[in-house]
Symmetry: C2
Subunit: 277 residues, 2 copies
């Protein structure tokens, strides 16, 4: 059955959104809808225009009968800024304050709407870079890694402080916890990351950077390359950070456990990502 | 600027897909596109038809000027069956065999395409039930919980065997690990689950059911209600399971560590969910 344009547009939109960074050929769509390639090309041009206008992302189209299209998720500066401002307000709520000056984040990192935006925002930063895997450390980094991985359409791997029998053989590295100066160990399943991968590191919170630095060593152990580091929130840190090149969506400037106040501001993300736009 | 139908269909499709189980009013769409409500109603009817025909899900439309639409993600029996068969083949690969008869799953549970389908499949089972939160235990259940939570559009909560300072006050329960008969402890942040929640429990793997039983006790501690239990894979278990009512996508029937063979078959999901369709 030949499919009408309106039906094609709806199904193609869904199909492309679910498969970011994947080239779908004109031939595939033409067969799926029993329609001429010229009609499919016109459909793709309409989708491209709407995706751009609505800030959904970029539809890269490759012209010609052998061509096709791939969807590159993105986010506009305006939407990214609004999201980061929202999160700044959320994090500033004084009831998030925990003993030791930590900030409660688990509710936010369990909300699908928040995770969707975190994923879009972080994926936007690396849109022009080759990334083969997203890496994080268990447990609270996992939701962030998963969301970013879905927008980049690459797998994510979880480094663990306690390896389980269900991981098989692992590679372990020692690292110095930046805040406590203690030596810790982290492990990654040997088969989870192919040698020579380009790896993006994400995490929920960074203080001294020790954990992230551990992941950096882990990436070296796998003969792989660190492409970038992005964290949801960084804490103000008085000592010397072991990591100097990173991106943060949010910055927890000051935590006062006596007055019970938290002061949060946007991290360096907006400046880094939209500076040259 | 009045928006053309084709542009509306594309943007509405995206907008609805990103906000499952959320009623979007006709008024909202009419203002967004500066179009008449009657045109929006026609658009929604087209989207509804395509979503149904392609097995994407159900678009529930509420007629009248005060009406709107909400997207209920679903999956066809055919697509669910194909996915489960795919996973059966994946899991049967002998190189997944780990010492102790465990099966390596981490690669699958780090792949965005697999997680998308796991989420759709599990969400389909509970489409007619009220669910307020998805619960799992760290670490490997997290990706499953997150994906299900995104299709049900409710938050997920992570029970931990080792609570961290960043969780704040926790409630802890003891449980008997079904396979080893050891007494273990799990904890959940006090503020992560409101009293009286309807909770869906998901996990990656179930042997004796001890961990899942622990989560059941946890739900009681929060004066909440267990709605259902669904696991990605269950293992054949010779003892008496502490949990008898659950759904599994896959069943690991036999693991032979000497011959290095794994025998995997579909779990009870397809029978339970599509029996009455």
């Amino acid at each position: 059955m030949k499919v009408r344009r309106s039906d094609r547009l709806i199904d193609m939109t869904r199909y492309l959104l679910e498969r970011p960074h994947t080239l779908i050929s004109l031939t595939f769509f033409a067969e799926r809808y029993e329609s001429a390639k010229s009609s499919i090309s016109e459909d793709l041009a309409i989708i491209k225009r709407t995706f751009k206008y609505r800030g959904i992302g970029i539809l890269e189209t490759i012209p010609g009968a052998a061509g096709g299209a791939q969807f590159i998720p993105s986010i506009s500066e305006q939407e990214a800024r609004a999201f980061i401002e929202d999160m700044t307000n959320e994090l500033s709520q004084e009831d998030r304050l925990l003993p030791g000056g930590y900030v409660y984040l688990s509710d936010l990192l369990g909300r699908p709407d928040v995770l969707r935006q975190v994923g879009r925002v972080i994926a936007r930063e690396y849109v022009d870079q080759q990334i083969d895997a997203v890496m994080t450390v268990a447990t609270k980094g996992v939701p962030i890694a998963q969301s970013v991985s879905s927008y980049l359409n690459v797998p994510f791997v979880i480094v663990r402080r306690d390896s389980k029998i269900t991981e098989g053989s692992t590679v372990s590295v020692n690292y110095v916890s930046g805040s406590s100066e203690r030596i810790e160990k982290m492990e990654l399943s040997k088969r989870s990351l192919p040698r020579g991968s380009n790896v993006l590191v994400v995490d929920d919170f960074m203080k001294g950077g020790g954990t992230v630095n551990g992941m950096k060593s882990m990436i070296e152990e796998f003969d792989s390359k660190l492409v970038g580091i992005t964290v949801f929130a960084e804490a103000a840190f008085s000592g010397r950070r072991v990591i100097d090149e990173y991106t943060s969506l949010l910055k927890v400037d000051q935590v006062n456990t006596i007055d019970k106040t938290i002061s949060v501001s946007p991290g360096n993300y907006l400046d880094k990502v939209f500076k040259n736009d």
